[in-house]
């Protein structure tokens, strides 16, 4: 209308304007209904007309993702189906003349340790700090005779397994070289919180000399450093047994199926009741091994708590942002998706006076 007034198209435009709104009562009713239904369409929320529909949509989406995920992992990508693919690839490589290596043998790589049910392996679980305290006791009384922990400092124990006073007293039991003093001489002083765990040997060569040529590895990061993590450490500590028939172990070595090669320099050290626990926990060998392994796991992964907390926060915040993003996309697209094209026969051309068959 405004356009016509501005451009002053005259009587013809006036006639069009007069003719256009003429509708029979039935037509007007239908048009009103159309308008009503389309307006209710456009005011729907992004996930459906009602909250119930939206909730249903979310439930269906969650169920579908669960079904897809579970079926992918359980029914589609099973070992039975993947194995022939790997076999086929291997035979193809062999046919093409590519060299293949079969590196794994139990004797060379050690027996694969079972997955022990460590309770701190749950994504929401911290270490059992009472077990860390017992594990430190086992390390101090048994392992520390040969193994160093160069990268663990006394202060690391404060607030983890011991109080500050306890750790200060423990550190003061050892002498550390310090200096130089005003005369340029080095001197010995009692340990402080800032000192590392004392070394059992002055250097690696002395350690080798004392242990028949085998170097006791540093235990600071031993769980991180061994394939199989804590499972390996625990199995190794308790895995000593008689060598099977046909296997001879050199003098000074010990047979342990979990150790790569089978012959380990370390003798079995954990027996029932070699350590007396202060909190009354049963001190059989498997309990000692479990506690000291947990302590070593803490030494290797001191950041575990922080890592797990950050992981959960990240997942939570990302889930919120993802929900917002999905809602925003559907909000923006709802106009496009609910748009309707209506066919009106015998309509009058809005631009001129003609009566086209299709507008």
């Amino acid at each position: 209308m405004m356009n016509r007034a501005v451009f002053g198209l005259g009587a013809r435009a006036a006639a069009t304007a007069a003719r256009a709104p003429v509708l029979s009562p039935a037509q007007a009713l239908r048009a009103q209904q159309r308008f009503a239904s389309s307006s209710s369409q456009s005011s729907q929320s992004a996930f459906g007309k009602t909250k119930g529909e939206a909730a249903l949509w979310f439930a269906k989406a969650a169920a579908a993702s669960a079904v897809v995920g579970v079926s992918l992992s359980t029914f589609v990508l099973t070992d039975e189906r993947l194995e022939p693919l790997a076999q086929g690839a291997a035979s193809l490589m062999a046919a093409a003349g590519m060299p293949t290596a079969h590196a794994f043998s139990t004797g060379d790589n050690g027996l694969h340790p079972p997955h022990w049910p460590w309770d701190y392996n749950k994504p929401w679980a911290t270490f059992d700090h009472a077990a860390l305290r017992r594990g430190y006791q086992v390390y101090r009384e048994v392992c520390a005779a040969c193994h160093s922990m160069d990268y663990i400092y006394w202060r690391n124990l404060v607030g983890v397994s011991h109080t500050e006073e306890e750790v200060k007293a423990m550190a003061a039991e050892y002498e550390y070289q310090d200096g130089p003093d005003e005369n340029g001489d080095m001197f010995m002083r009692p340990g402080k919180l800032s000192d590392p765990m004392p070394r059992p040997y002055v250097n690696d060569n002395a350690a080798r000399k004392a242990n028949g040529g085998a170097l006791p590895p540093d235990l600071s990061c031993i769980v991180r450093a061994r394939h199989g993590d804590a499972d390996y450490i625990f199995s190794l500590l308790l895995g000593y047994c008689e060598p099977p028939a046909g296997v001879t172990v050199r003098e000074g070595l010990h047979y342990n199926p979990y150790f790569p090669g089978g012959a380990i320099g370390m003798a079995r050290s954990l027996y029932d009741e070699v350590v007396e626990y202060e909190d009354g926990t049963p001190n059989n060998a498997s309990q000692l091994a479990k506690d000291v392994t947990q302590f070593l796991a803490w030494a290797s992964y001191p950041e575990q708590d922080q890592r797990k907390k950050f992981g959960f926060k990240t997942i939570g915040i990302t889930a919120m942002i993802l929900t917002l993003a999905i809602w925003w996309k559907r909000f923006k697209w709802s106009h496009v998706k609910s748009k309707k094209f209506v066919f009106q026969p015998n309509a009058v051309c809005a631009r001129c006076d003609c009566e086209p068959m299709y507008l």
Partner: protein
Amino acid sequence: MQKLVYNVFFRRSSSYLATIFATAFVAEIAIDGFSDRLWDAANRGRQWKDIREKYISN
């Protein structure tokens, strides 16, 4: 109500920015507190603060 919220928090860029900063501040405290409480509930009796009473000597 919507109009009031829009006028106070979203209309001007300065107030919008202030809203974002304040929301981030509050949300971080809330999420940290919430996740810490969840963590403590899931690890009741396992953390150092749960067992330290046994070893304090004074």
